[in-house]
């Protein structure tokens, strides 16, 4: 009788498993590795869980948990400054995501085929990914204040947020386009679809998951940005991360700030999970459609 081992290899009964190999860990459960991975996950999640726990603390301390209460959240909701900062942050993130999605998707299509000058474009597009945030922040501050005369506030923030998020959208959409089967579009053309119809009925549904993912990416980058925004906020137009930073630099970490941070974590995590779910669902659906269209 043959036995299937955990690693999928078949051992013949009566014949000893190749011991030397097994001992070296090819098929054995990698307990050392599992332990290391578990520890890294503890390292990743412990601070966030601690933050969430302390936000429901009933005393002012953030070092010990003394009892359950939601009054820090109640205070947050009542705080006018928090509400206005949240409003600005959401408007900014939505606007930036909208601009980045349109402009970035166009660029990704532009980079689809080989043409002279594509290398230069790739270099320009990789710049926002490698320029340190602090350098980008101070250069935009100098630019807005000294050269362009753009008042600090929403406009300056939007210009900056699009500038640092755009490349991420291009990268995401471009990788999807690169993995796309050109034959699908050719088939559409062969079946008599004009370029616009082919784009609307074939290309767009196929890239849609990447466009949605890119938009979510841009939203989160904007929603979470502190360093660059901190140079560009104006009087009365502060984003949430900049507000939190300012409060905490002045007074240290307070329970209100912890509650606010916990909320931001929850929003980001929820968005990420929704994004992942939507992308995998659409990808599955698009994949099924593609399978139907091109069997074999």
């Amino acid at each position: 009788m043959n036995a299937h081992r955990a690693d999928g290899r078949v051992t013949v009964a009566g014949e000893p498993a190749p011991r030397g190999r097994r001992r070296r860990g090819a098929g054995r459960r990698p307990w050392a590795l599992v332990t290391a991975v578990a520890l890294v996950f503890v390292f990743l999640y412990a601070p966030i869980l601690w933050l969430a726990l302390v936000s429901f603390n009933d005393s002012r301390t953030v070092s010990r948990f003394t009892g359950f209460s939601t009054h820090w959240y109640a205070e947050l909701v009542a705080d006018e400054r928090v509400r206005s900062a949240l409003g600005l942050t959401l408007r900014l993130a939505l606007s930036s995501a909208a601009v980045c999605t349109v402009v970035g998707t166009l660029a990704a299509f532009g980079l689809r085929r080989v043409f002279r000058g594509r290398g230069l474009w790739t270099v320009v597009l990789s710049l926002p990914l490698v320029v340190p945030e602090v350098v980008m922040g101070v250069s935009l501050l100098a630019f807005c204040v000294k050269l362009a005369g753009i008042p600090l506030g929403f406009g300056a923030l939007l210009a900056a947020h699009v500038a640092f998020s755009l490349s991420f959208v291009v990268v995401v959409v471009r990788s999807r386009l690169a993995g796309m089967d050109v034959r699908l579009e050719e088939a559409a053309a062969d079946l008599g679809a004009g370029p616009l119809t082919a784009f609307r009925t074939v290309t767009l549904p196929l890239v849609a998951p990447a466009v949605v993912a890119g938009a979510a990416f841009a939203f989160l980058l904007s929603f979470d940005d502190l360093v660059i925004s901190s140079y560009l906020t104006g009087v009365g137009s502060t984003t949430l991360p900049v507000f939190i930073y300012g409060q905490a630099s002045k007074r240290g970490v307070s329970p209100e700030i912890v509650a606010l941070s916990t909320l931001m974590v929850a929003v980001s995590a929820a968005l990420l999970l929704v994004g992942v779910a939507v992308v995998s669902w659409r990808a599955r659906r698009a994949g099924r459609r593609a399978d139907l269209a091109l069997p074999g």
Binding site: R21, P30, V62, G110, V130, L147, A159, V162, L166
Partner: protein
């Protein structure tokens, strides 16, 4: 595609035009302005710079007084990169080799804390590393506690940076691990190599592109970061990023801040050029 009225280079450049204009206006021109300011002189009024061109700001920036800050920044960035490699490799290898159909879920689990506001995570560490914080109390229970906690130490800053940038290492490493042909490891075992030798001679060279891309993605932001050193460290932990920030935020000395920003960019360019020379993709 059947009909093509517009030549390919023209349509491609037209599609890229909005991106190009935006990045030129809000990235390239501001960077050029900083280069110009780095050669200016500080004027008496606040937020004022005057030309003519001088190299005064660079002389100040390269003054021996700033040398420790330079060294410390590089040390933090290097230590952070190594720490991210040590923590990130098991994670990436495990997900790629043993993740099975849970790969995407595991990768998302690595990314969730990353998307939890950077600031929130730093505050969490601030509370945990405090004298009265959980870490100090746990370590105190086994006699390793430290009077006043672990804030304001170099270790706290490296820990915060590692925590902040770990996902940048895990993602490229994961891609490299996934592409890695595991049969090479078995071949190495069959040829009599042990675990350590196999790791350094077969696995590590095999995932090299991921190691290099991840190191670049961790090294650059951790060299420029000022939030972590400011919140988890103290005056003795100030870095290049925090000095640049001080020069601009207080409006103290824009030319000096610009010169330091240019030096930081030069560091990035050197790293990129070294990588480019080796014929590897920048990203």
């Amino acid at each position: 595609m059947a009909r093509r009225r517009v030549p390919r280079w023209l349509s491609a450049n037209l599609l890229l035009l909005p991106t190009g204009l935006w990045l030129a206006l809000f990235l390239l021109v501001p960077l050029a302005l900083v280069v110009q300011y780095s050669f200016a002189t500080r004027d008496t009024g606040p937020l004022r710079v005057v030309l003519p061109w001088t190299a005064q700001a660079y002389r100040t920036a390269l003054d021996p007084a700033f040398l420790p800050i330079f060294g410390r920044t590089l040390a933090y960035a290097a230590l952070t990169t190594v720490a991210c490699l040590v923590l990130g490799f098991p994670l990436a290898w495990f997900i790629a080799r043993h993740g099975g159909r849970h790969r995407n879920a595991l990768l998302a689990a690595v990314l969730v804390p990353f998307w939890a506001s950077y600031l929130a995570r730093i505050y969490a560490w601030k509370a945990l590393l405090d004298g009265d914080g959980l870490v100090n109390r746990l370590l105190g229970a086994v006699g390793l506690g430290r009077e006043g906690g672990f804030l304001l130490t170099d270790g706290a800053v490296v820990l915060g940076l590692t925590y902040g940038f770990l996902p940048f290492m895990v993602l490229p490493l994961y891609v490299a691990c996934e592409r890695f042909d595991y049969r090479l490891v078995e071949a190495s075992y069959d040829l009599g190599h042990g675990r350590v030798s196999t790791f350094f001679r077969v696995v590590l060279p095999g995932v090299r592109p991921g190691v290099l891309a991840g190191s670049l993605l961790v090294l650059v932001p951790s060299a420029g970061d000022f939030v972590t050193p400011k919140l988890l460290g103290g005056v003795d932990q100030s870095t290049f990023g925090s000095v640049i920030d001080d020069q601009f935020r207080g409006g103290n000395n824009w030319p000096l801040g610009s010169a330091m920003a240019v030096l930081l960019m030069a560091l990035v360019v050197v790293v990129l050029v070294v990588r480019g020379r080796r014929g590897e993709d920048v990203l």
